[in-house]
């Protein structure tokens, strides 16, 4: 398909990329392109300038700190996360990445692109919210770090401003995590997903039921379903599932994720 005319720049440093983004209101960062190029085909997005981040080595790589903290560059692909020895410190990361779309998409799609796209059907926003990830955002004025629970602002909207970049994803140590989803076909478009993490209490984030992941905290998997009901979700209706069915799945999947997190 022929895309709308667009300019393309490939900066060689974060500073240069920020300058490129600031130079044009219609400039947009291009990560792996597995969402953006498709929405450009549909004209759902029509950037004037694509700022290709693939040349920025600072945005790649996975480091494991001595305390078990993972520091992940946002341009790390799903396949790299699945294959990384360091990322195995938090096994849920590779497990969830292996459920995203297919080999080709996993080879090119990036963790940062997934988070910044914040499509409500993406798996990684609820996962990051459940496991307490922190996101470092860099702009001309310097860096700031926000918790995942404050990062997702609305459908396709995050705390990353038009002239800013997500530059680091920090994930605390932990192993007691779970994830469950109902999708259209294996690893297809998500109808509802839920991620859970046990760290003192059980923290569960449910995706696809609202504009941003819905967080709930409970003491045990036995109270998850009541807590989801108490959250009084009003999920969207679409051709794939009614609002009522999504609300039902939210309960079921939140409990499944919670039981995996506590090792049941």
């Amino acid at each position: 398909m022929l895309l709308r005319e667009v300019e393309y720049v490939k900066p060689s440093s974060i500073a240069e990329a920020l300058t490129n983004l600031a130079a044009n209101d219609g400039a947009r960062a291009l990560a792996g392109g597995q969402t953006l190029i498709n929405v450009m085909k549909a004209r759902a997005a029509s950037p004037d300038v694509l700022v290709d981040l693939s040349g920025l080595e600072e945005l790649k790589g996975i480091e494991l700190g001595s305390d078990g903290t993972l520091s992940i560059g946002p341009m790390t692909t799903y396949t790299e996360l699945m294959d990384s020895a360091e990322a195995r410190a938090r096994p849920i990361l590779g497990e969830v990445c292996s459920k995203i779309a297919d080999v080709q998409v996993r080879n090119r799609g990036t963790i940062g692109g997934n988070l910044c796209a914040n499509d409500p059907t993406n798996h990684l926003p609820p996962l990051m919210a459940a496991i307490g990830a922190e996101l470092t955002i860099t702009g001309a004025g310097g860096e700031r770090t926000v918790p995942a629970s404050d990062f997702f602002l609305g459908v396709y909207m995050t705390a990353v401003g038009q002239t800013e970049l997500l530059t680091r994803i920090t994930i605390p140590a932990g192993k007691h995590d779970g994830f469950a989803a109902v999708t259209l076909g294996v690893d297809g478009t998500c109808i509802v997903n839920a991620a859970a993490s046990m760290n003192g209490s059980l923290r569960i984030a449910i995706g696809c039921v609202d504009a941003v992941p819905v967080l709930i905290e409970v003491e045990s998997p036995d109270t998850v379903r009541a807590a989801v009901r108490a959250a009084a979700l009003h999920p969207p209706d679409d051709v794939h599932a009614s609002s009522e069915y999504r609300a039902h799945l939210a309960e079921v999947l939140a409990e499944r994720a919670a039981r995996q997190a506590v090792g049941e």
Binding site: L2, I37, V103, Q104
Partner: protein, 150 residues
């Protein structure tokens, strides 16, 4: 924008618009029409090629992003008339009917067998997950790939 892309060992230098998808560069600019456009939405995998050793869907890559890269397409598999073992297996197992998905299937299976010459049944299925076939029901494709796995 001027790009130089090495496709199946030959360097092609062209002036392309930034909006051009890699699949159109391959098919329209350098006349390699083996890679197909099925859905144009990143679902079907008929446009799959190997970009710098990594399997990708060429409808979700811009041609300018492939500047300086090496691309392998289905035309690069056979040596003249000599099919690869995988291509021969597709023939032997009747793994294609209309053939539209075959270039993508071959590139996905080639990529799998390079990185994992002895895949399990599950690994073969997972490797072909991004390639849709409307004719075969997949079974003969699976059998063909399995027959050349060591």
């Amino acid at each position: 924008m001027n790009v130089a892309v090495t496709v199946n060992g030959t360097v092609y230098e062209r002036d392309v618009e930034a909006r051009k998808l890699l699949i159109h560069f391959l098919r329209d600019d350098i006349d390699l029409t083996g890679s197909h456009i099925g859905c144009d939405t990143g679902n079907c995998g008929a446009c799959s090629v190997i970009l710098d050793g990594t399997l990708v869907k060429s409808c979700m890559v811009l041609a300018v992003q492939a500047n300086g890269s090496k691309v392998e397409t289905v035309e690069g598999l056979a040596d003249g008339e000599q099919l690869t073992a995988l291509q021969q297996a597709f023939t032997d197992h009747h793994a294609l009917q209309c053939g539209y998905c075959t270039p993508g299937m071959l590139m996905s299976a080639t990529s799998l067998l390079r990185s994992n010459p002895s895949p399990s049944d599950e690994e073969i299925r997972k490797a072909l997950q991004g390639n849709i076939c409307r004719c075969t029901g997949y079974w003969n494709i699976f059998e063909a790939v399995k027959s050349v796995a060591r």
